[in-house]
């Protein structure tokens, strides 16, 4: 049994959460080709099996990460298919970007246990091994169960259920025309259907947009505190942590020269990273520290640049912030510390040059509430209220919503261009199938049930 699967799957193989490195694994006929499309280094398709390669992952021009890629050609791999293992740095952002990139290029997110399934189906296991793996898979789905439960609390499945029901009712109207067109039935009001579709599309698109926020909620907002030495970074962090009793956890198990802590603000997790001071230096050890600070800033969703209102100058602040490699899409907040000690005219000068400046005094803990509001505002750009709206947190769900969205566009196009009802119905079923991957499948019985309760059918 070789190559019984025609598609290529991908998944994160290391446990989720911040580790030093993460391993993404691809398996299937296109594993090597797909990786070649984003990997800059040696051409993997020309390399022998069981080899490691260093290079960069790129999304177009943008470099995502420096990685090591392991190449395992069929049948010399775990699944007995072509397998590529990509070791990236352990950033959720990088992992998510790389996964999304590979999925867009044609890989499919693996189901729980799917690598094992393929390995088994290709004869990689004997029965004794297989039974041990089966238990692992069961554990896998229990975890999934917990994730699903969490999402129910967010109203995700409820909102999708409503959506699904609306689509089923719509699909039923089309099926009615197709299966019972010869009978005395009323036909679907197309303009009403289009209105319904527009509404459903709005919800799907909103859920898709919420994915970004959902990720934030699931993985935390990486917030880097940068600034010159003695600007009060540690004091600020301590103030934030002590103020908030709801410290989620101190991230365990990593040795680092950064302090990371998580704070929950109104249900949104912020992961604060205190960095070594930023300054030009000739000291080699300190230079490494500064270099790492810059790396952390590159991965941040929010960068807090903190300076001392008493000792800093506007020119210095301008120069430092200009030099910070804040990624596009991330927010840079300027924080002027030690408000209690600064002269009013100095403060006024800063405010004039930096109108969005947040003023605070970390030690006596003044101005912290304003800072909190600014932090929360960074994740509410989409106008979403994390406390009440439905949030999508799962990449597979997001992908399903994307497929559903595309199918719904096809439905709308079909309806407006006068395509055959059977084709419109086919696209609508594709949309329902995609949503079904999240909410559970629909069956033809659901459609027929909807028809028979609403219409008088039958000779």
């Amino acid at each position: 049994m070789t190559n019984i699967f025609s598609d290529t799957i991908v998944a994160l193989s290391t446990p989720p959460g911040a580790g030093a490195i993460a391993v993404l694994r691809l398996s299937g006929p296109a594993a090597i080709e797909l990786t070649d499309g984003i990997f800059f280094g040696r051409r993997l398709s020309e390399q022998p099996s069981n080899t490691l390669h260093y290079g960069t992952l790129r999304n177009g021009e943008a470099i995502l990460d420096e990685v090591v890629v392991g190449l395992f050609r069929a049948p010399h791999s775990y699944t007995r298919e072509d397998v590529v293992e990509i070791s990236t740095h352990g950033s959720d952002y990088i992992i998510r970007e790389v996964l999304a990139l590979l999925v867009r290029r044609g890989a499919r997110l693996a189901e729980p246990g799917e690598f094992t399934k393929r390995a088994f189906l290709h004869g990689a296991f004997d029965l004794a091994q297989a039974e041990a793996v089966a238990d692992l898979i069961a554990a896998d789905s229990a975890l999934q169960h917990r994730v699903a439960l969490n999402q129910m609390r967010g109203g995700f499945s409820r909102e999708l259920k409503d959506l699904r029901q609306q689509l089923i009712d719509f699909a039923a109207l089309l099926e009615l025309e197709l299966d019972f067109g010869e009978e005395d039935v009323e036909f679907a009001d197309r303009s009403g259907l289009l209105r319904l579709l527009t509404h459903v599309q709005t919800v799907v698109q909103r859920l898709l947009r919420s994915f970004e926020l959902g990720n934030v909620i699931k993985n935390g907002v990486t917030t880097v505190i940068a600034g010159r030495p003695n600007a009060g970074k540690s004091t600020l962090l301590n103030a934030l942590l002590n103020e908030e009793r709801a410290i989620v956890s101190a991230i365990p198990g990593t040795t680092r020269d950064f302090i990371e802590d998580e704070v929950s603000l109104e249900g949104i997790k912020f992961r604060f990273v205190d960095t070594a001071g930023l300054r030009d230096t000739t000291d080699e050890v300190e230079a490494i520290g500064v270099q790492r600070t810059r790396q952390r800033v590159e991965q941040a969703a929010v960068v807090l640049y903190l300076f001392d209102l008493v000792t800093a100058t506007p020119a210095e602040v301008a120069a430092d912030t200009a030099a910070l490699p804040v990624p596009s899409g991330a927010t840079l907040l300027l924080l002027g510390n030690k408000l209690d000690e600064a002269k009013p005219e100095t403060v006024a000068a800063f405010q004039q040059q930096f109108p969005d400046l947040v003023l605070l005094a970390a030690a006596p803990r003044t101005g912290l509430e304003e800072l909190r509001q600014h932090l929360l505002a960074t994740v509410r750009r989409e106008g979403l209220d994390a406390s009440s709206a439905t949030i999508v947190t799962n990449l597979r769900h997001a992908r399903s919503l994307e497929v559903a969205g595309e199918a719904l566009v096809a439905v709308q196009h079909g309806l407006t261009s006068g395509a055959g009802t059977e084709l419109v119905a086919a696209d609508l079923r594709a949309a329902l199938r995609a949503l079904g991957e999240i909410t559970g499948d629909i069956s033809s019985d659901d459609l027929l049930g909807s028809i028979f309760t609403r219409f008088c059918i039958g000779k």
Partner: protein
């Protein structure tokens, strides 16, 4: 002679039984067809019609597989219509009005023409079962016929109970005896049984109807047919008529509600929601002030008329009075009243996909006893059961059709994996691959399979090969043939389609929804001349391919994904109880259904993808 051992004994000679007997015998098995009455072989118990939406596709599939229903329908129809013509080709559905008496006669003559079929007229009262294997049947006279396999097709006869108003009496059809013994024995052998209900409308005297008050519904101008072989097409046809019920009709029917066996709870079986009685319609949809009635002639020359849409089990006088309030029925005389019938069925989750029962080896069920309704549904099950019984006799591979291959595959897979609470009828919406399962390509889909079995003749196969080759040739030509703007823009303007600005290929124009092949042939003489060498069927096939191309591709991909799981066979009985990684529900369901492939397991309700993964891991040996 009387007690020779047969390969296959078929009990019942309705649509299922006849197809089963013909298929097994044509494959080379020796067959005994046992029926309670040789004068009622292949009765159309309900309406005198074959086909319809989804059902017509099934008849085409039966024909493509080498079954008889299509041929017999073609020979005995009095009207043909291709339903859903206004929709896309995947929805086109052939339907025929049949001459009821001629249909039954033709079936009997067909069976008499098959050398391997023997007949015996008597009621079967029990099965011969030894060591969990069926080895024959026992009749009312106490005769034991032995066989290697038995196909049961008892229709509505098992403990049939007919209701008209407050009266009820045993019977398998109006004026025919019921059959007892088999259900009771099977229950003892561990079978689950249930009750279902169906109904039929009154028949009236056509001489007493005023057709001028009804709408005429004529057959197609260019009638098509069911069989892919050279059966005759109709040169003349009989029309049907459409009329409507009204408030007066409804009022009179309501006066009978207190005597309705359905409303008063005397009928326990569940009836089909899509084939409600007229009293059910006015009760459940009280706001509708009229319901459609199709007035269908029962044959070329008989005056008897079938009142389609007026199924009823109300007292006969209420039926009669209500009928006479319908436009055109003012002076109607009734031949036979409508009635409801309850009968035993065996929940079909007790079957393998071959239609062999799980509790008893070499015993096959087909038709209404599996909880289905409809001649077409019954016929195709009979065909499949007959084929599989023969395969068993010869110790050959079972013959199973996939959901992506045929409506027949959808039907049997649904029955076995989902079961059914109400009489199961096919709808196109039950198929995931509706764009693939069309009436125009049943031969391309299925004849090669049946030819390999030995059921479809070489002639059928040669036709399919030719159709396939010629379709490919036409598609190739269309994709190469260039068109200049000057040649075609006139036509495009005429049909409201955007003009072209540079040279293109014919195939690109044919993809447009506004354009059909005949339009293009009209504007492009060279195209017209070249295509002249091909038959209409081939041109239609090529055209459908172009129009549906992207959707066909999508459905093929989806079918392939499903198919990967279908290829993974579950051999033997697995000990699902000893698989703790499965969910509790999954263990129960798998134990009950005993799926034959991983794909089948994945469609059982209550089985999650995680369960399937676990199962696949356990499957290794």
């Amino acid at each position: 002679m009387l007690t020779q051992e047969y390969d296959v004994i078929v009990v019942g000679a309705g649509h299922a039984g006849c197809e089963a007997a013909a298929a097994a015998a044509n494959l080379g098995s020796s067959v005994l067809l046992v029926t309670m009455n040789m004068n009622t072989i292949a009765q159309m118990s309900c309406n005198p019609a074959m086909g319809g939406v989804a059902k017509g596709q099934i008849v085409r599939e039966v024909d493509a597989l080498g079954g008889q229903s299509g041929i017999i329908t073609d020979k005995t129809m009095i009207q043909f219509r291709m339903l859903n013509r206004s929709k896309g080709p995947a929805m086109w559905s052939p339907r025929a009005q049949s001459d009821r008496m001629r249909f039954a006669e033709e079936w009997r003559l067909t069976l008499e023409g098959i050398r391997n079929v023997d007949f015996w007229q008597e009621a079967v009262t029990g099965l011969l079962v030894e060591d969990g294997t069926c080895v024959g049947v026992r009749t009312q006279l106490g005769i034991e016929f032995r066989s290697k396999t038995v196909v049961l097709t008892n229709g509505t006869f098992l403990n049939g109970l007919i209701h008209i108003g407050e009266k009820n009496f045993g019977g398998g059809r109006a004026a025919e005896r019921k059959s007892t013994g088999i259900t009771e024995q099977l229950r003892e052998l561990g079978f689950e049984t249930g009750r279902m209900k169906t109904g039929t409308p009154p028949r009236v005297d056509g001489r007493t109807l005023d057709y001028s008050k009804m709408e005429e519904q004529a057959g197609d101008e260019n009638p098509s047919k069911f069989s892919y072989l050279d059966t005759p097409t109709l040169s003349k046809q009989r029309p049907c008529y459409i009329t409507y019920t009204n408030e007066k009709v409804h009022d009179i029917l309501r006066t009978g509600f207190e005597k309705s066996p359905m409303f008063q709870g005397r009928i326990k079986g569940l009836g089909p929601r899509y084939c409600p009685s007229v009293e059910d319609k006015i009760n459940r949809f009280a706001d509708k002030d009229r319901h459609q009635i199709f007035v269908e002639p029962e044959g070329w020359s008989t005056v008897e008329v079938y009142v389609n849409g007026f199924s009823s089990s109300l007292p006969e006088d209420v039926q009669y009075e209500a009928l006479r309030q319908i436009a055109g029925f003012e002076n109607a005389k009734m031949f036979r009243p409508g009635y409801a019938i309850e009968y035993d069925f065996f929940p079909p989750t007790q079957l393998h996909l071959t239609l062999e029962t799980k509790p008893v080896r070499n015993l096959y069920f087909a038709g209404q006893i599996n909880g289905t309704t409809g001649y077409e549904e019954a016929a195709c099950q009979g065909l499949m059961a007959g084929i599989n019984a023969h395969q068993r006799v010869r110790e050959l591979e079972p013959f199973i059709l996939r959901r992506s291959e045929a409506y027949i595959g959808v039907l049997i897979d649904d029955l076995v994996n989902k079961g059914t609470d109400e009489p199961y009828r096919m709808f196109t919406s039950r198929a995931e691959h509706r764009i693939l399962l069309r009436q125009d390509n049943a031969d391309l889909r299925l004849t090669p399979l049946a030819h390999k079995l030995g059921l479809a003749s070489d002639e059928r196969m040669a036709r399919v090969e030719q159709k396939r080759q010629q379709t490919a040739d036409v598609l190739d030509y269309l994709s190469k043939k260039p068109v200049e703007p000057g040649e075609i823009n006139g036509l495009l303007e005429e049909l409201g389609s955007a003009p072209i600005h540079e040279k293109t290929r014919v195939v690109n124009l044919l993809r447009r929804p506004q354009l059909d092949l005949p339009d293009l042939q009209r504007a492009l003489p060279e195209l017209h001349e070249h295509l002249g060498q091909y038959g209409a069927e081939v041109l239609e096939q090529a055209s459908i391919h172009v129009k549906y191309e992207t959707y066909i591709e999508k459905e093929h991909q989806q079918a392939e994904r499903m198919g990967q799981l279908e290829d993974l066979r579950i051999v033997g009985r697995l000990d699902y109880k000893a698989m703790p990684a499965l969910s509790h529900e999954a263990r129960e369901k798998l134990l009950k259904v005993q799926p034959e492939t991983i794909g089948q397991a994945s469609r059982i309700s209550g089985i999650s993808p995680a369960d399937i993964s676990v199962l696949m891991v356990y499957l290794g040996k």
